[in-house]
């Protein structure tokens, strides 16, 4: 296979993977209003757990890591997602219940940095700064894949997984649960006044989002076969924010568009460009700056994103299913304050 197609399928994989990551952050930030600045930490944990649980026991591999259970795909991926969810519960219980949005953001970004610091320094956990490598390519032996054919194969696998997770996420966002999330996002005080236990819903949202983060991270380590601390500095969280803000907060199709525009075309495509002689890394630096500036421009001119959150209209089927003809407003009752009053404008409220 030519290098061209190798690149193309790598980009396709990246698009699907960031679509999953974007869905996870979107349910937290876009739907529930939780400013999770530690998002990349959940991605990383998912990646490490997916990798470490699928590797053989660490003795003799030249790496140090916990687990090493040789769990096959996709069960290791599931484990990665669940581990991230577990971390979300911990974080939520400690921080989410007591802090208002901005303090929470501070604590979460601090948490993200500390988690990074510990993983980087404490080698027995996930091999320290070197990270995990030689993670088995999933299903490669089953389908007798070569290194070349693995890339398109796994891009398709990631696409299928993204499709399933999209379906599941749509079920959630279109359900009363998703609606309650959005109510909390718009005004948590009102949601509480309506009897909603805000914390419980925020916890649920964190849990779902972290699962998506974990799975997205797991796919990353499965695709590349390695994962180390340099791939998840806190700034990466910002990239996922950029994906959902550019694409369209609260809209799953928008997230796919954002993933294509920001992560795939803006960040990964230039990474294939050769370095400018004498300036290693310069392209990447400029690229990241462009992402930051693009985000300001989007927030200013089109805060709703390329594909805005859609208005969830009353389903027609529902209106038709109703018993009687109910297409108009009822007659309006009125008290009579003044004699002969009760004069009401026609056709609803206009003021």
């Amino acid at each position: 296979m030519s290098a061209f197609w190798y690149y193309v399928f790598t980009l396709v994989f990246v698009m699907f993977d960031y679509f999953i990551l974007a869905m996870g952050l979107n349910i937290q930030y876009g739907e529930t209003g939780i400013l999770n600045f530690a998002y990349i930490g959940f991605v990383a944990l998912g990646a490490y757990v997916t990798g470490a649980s699928s590797l053989p026991p660490s003795a003799g591999t030249g790496q140090q890591y916990i687990m090493g259970w040789g769990i096959p795909f996709p069960f290791n991926l599931l484990l990665g997602g669940l581990a991230a969810s577990l971390l979300a519960v911990f974080v939520a219980v400690v921080a989410l219940r007591r802090l208002r949005t901005d303090y929470l953001a501070v604590v979460l970004i601090s948490f993200s940095l500390v988690f990074y610091d510990i993983t980087n320094n404490y080698v027995p956990l996930f091999n320290g700064a070197d990270g995990l490598y030689n993670v088995p390519e999933p299903l490669a032996s089953v389908f007798k894949l070569t290194t070349n054919s693995f890339v398109p194969f796994f891009a398709v696998v990631a696409g299928l997984i993204a499709l399933i997770m999209w379906w599941a996420m749509s079920r959630i966002t279109n359900s009363p649960l998703g609606r309650t999330f959005r109510a909390i996002r718009d005004d948590d005080g009102v949601a509480a006044a309506l009897g909603k236990g805000v914390f419980r819903y925020q916890l649920t949202s964190m849990l779902i989002g972290a699962f998506y983060a974990g799975v997205g991270g797991g796919l990353l380590v499965q695709f590349g076969g390695s994962f180390n601390t340099s791939s998840w500095l806190p700034a990466e969280t910002f990239v996922v924010f950029a994906v959902i803000i550019v694409g369209g907060v609260g809209n799953n199709v928008g997230l796919l568009v954002g993933s294509l525009l920001v992560e795939t075309l803006l960040i990964h495509l230039p990474a294939f460009l050769p370095d400018i002689p004498g300036h290693p890394g310069l392209i990447q630096y400029i690229d990241t700056m462009v992402v930051g500036v693009l985000l300001w421009v989007m927030l200013w001119f089109r805060p709703q994103g390329v594909v805005p959150e859609r208005v969830r209209k009353t389903p027609l089927s529902l209106l038709q299913g109703l018993k009687s003809d109910r297409t108009a407003n009822a007659e309006v009752p009125a008290m009579s304050l003044v004699d002969g009053a009760g004069v009401v404008e026609e056709g609803g409220v206009r003021d």
């Binding site: 400013l35 501070v106 970004i109 890394g281 985000l295 200013w300």
Partner: protein
């Protein structure tokens, strides 16, 4: 025991850097009511401004370079507020829009620094000085000067807040922005001055961090940021004196922890203290009502 006292000495140095940066962050938070996630990168950029004046051009003496580097950062902070942050803050009433903007700013500044100076470790040009014994402590002249600067600056901030009209206006805005505006305080001017102070202090903190550590890297400020957050929150968000106390506590705790655990995790100690503070005293040691 010697090690313990040595770490206490270093603790005071870290506390000095922290105090400068935490007070700078706190001043700005009190006035604008959103958190500047690019503050760590302001520190880095300020440190590199000093580097330019000290090493690349002019070859100014290190402390003179520090002065101008910091002031330059203050001016830049005013411009950034004027043309980026303030418009967003005015337009969106939910603070998290501005916070995301500052998060993006952090990324932009960091990569500007990377693009210009590269990822390599740099150092200021400073004459090598012997370490001096002061009681049980063992410190370099640069570390001592840093401590003196920090103490003097804290004193200056205190006098400004209590004694000058600008300082009083700052406190008034910090307590209640709407009330301050209706009582005729020029909030725009005060905000500009605050950003200048905040930016300068970030630049100064970043530079002295580079001086006391003996090196500077683009990401140094960013990694230091959560230690600052810890100091600010432990002390009570928006409270200047709380930030000073928080800086002392966190500075000492992180350095003294080296006696007991590996130095690689010393900054993480700040996070542990932060978590405990949040669990048991969520509004901080010196919390002011109304900012909660």
């Amino acid at each position: 025991m010697t090690l313990f006292w040595l770490s206490v000495g270093f603790g005071f140095v870290t506390a000095s850097v922290l105090a400068i940066s935490a007070v700078g962050l706190s001043l700005q938070f009190g006035i604008t009511n959103y958190i500047n996630f690019a503050y760590g990168d302001y520190m880095a950029l300020g440190a590199y401004f000093t580097y330019v004046l000290n090493v690349e051009f002019f070859h100014l003496e290190i402390w003179i370079a520090t002065l101008f580097g910091s002031l330059l950062m203050g001016v830049l902070a005013v411009f950034v507020n004027r043309f980026l942050l303030s418009p967003f803050a005015r337009r969106f009433n939910k603070t998290f829009y501005v916070m995301i903007v500052t998060f993006g700013l952090s990324l932009v500044i960091l990569n500007v620094v990377y693009s210009i100076w590269g990822p390599n470790v740099r150092a200021y040009s400073m004459p090598i000085e012997r370490v001096v014994h002061i009681g049980p402590f063992l410190l370099t002249k640069y570390q001592l000067i840093t401590m003196v600067i920090a103490v003097a600056l804290m004193l200056g901030i205190h006098l400004m807040l209590k004694g000058t009209r600008i300082g009083k206006s700052m406190r008034a805005i910090s307590d209640n922005t709407t009330l301050a505006m209706t009582s005729g305080i020029d909030t725009k001017r005060i905000t500009t001055i605050t950003w200048f102070l905040s930016g300068s202090m970030a630049g100064l903190a970043g530079t002295v961090l580079g001086i006391t550590e003996g090196n500077l890297t683009p990401a140094a400020g960013e990694l230091f940021l959560f230690v600052i957050f810890a100091a600010v929150i432990v002390g009570g968000v928006g409270s200047i004196y709380g930030a000073m106390a928080g800086a002392l506590l966190i500075g000492l705790a992180t350095e003294v922890s080296v006696v007991f655990i590996s130095a690689a995790y010393k900054l993480d100690v700040a996070f542990v203290i932060l978590i405990f503070a949040l669990l048991f005293r969520p509004s901080g040691l010196f919390a002011r009502p109304g900012k909660d």
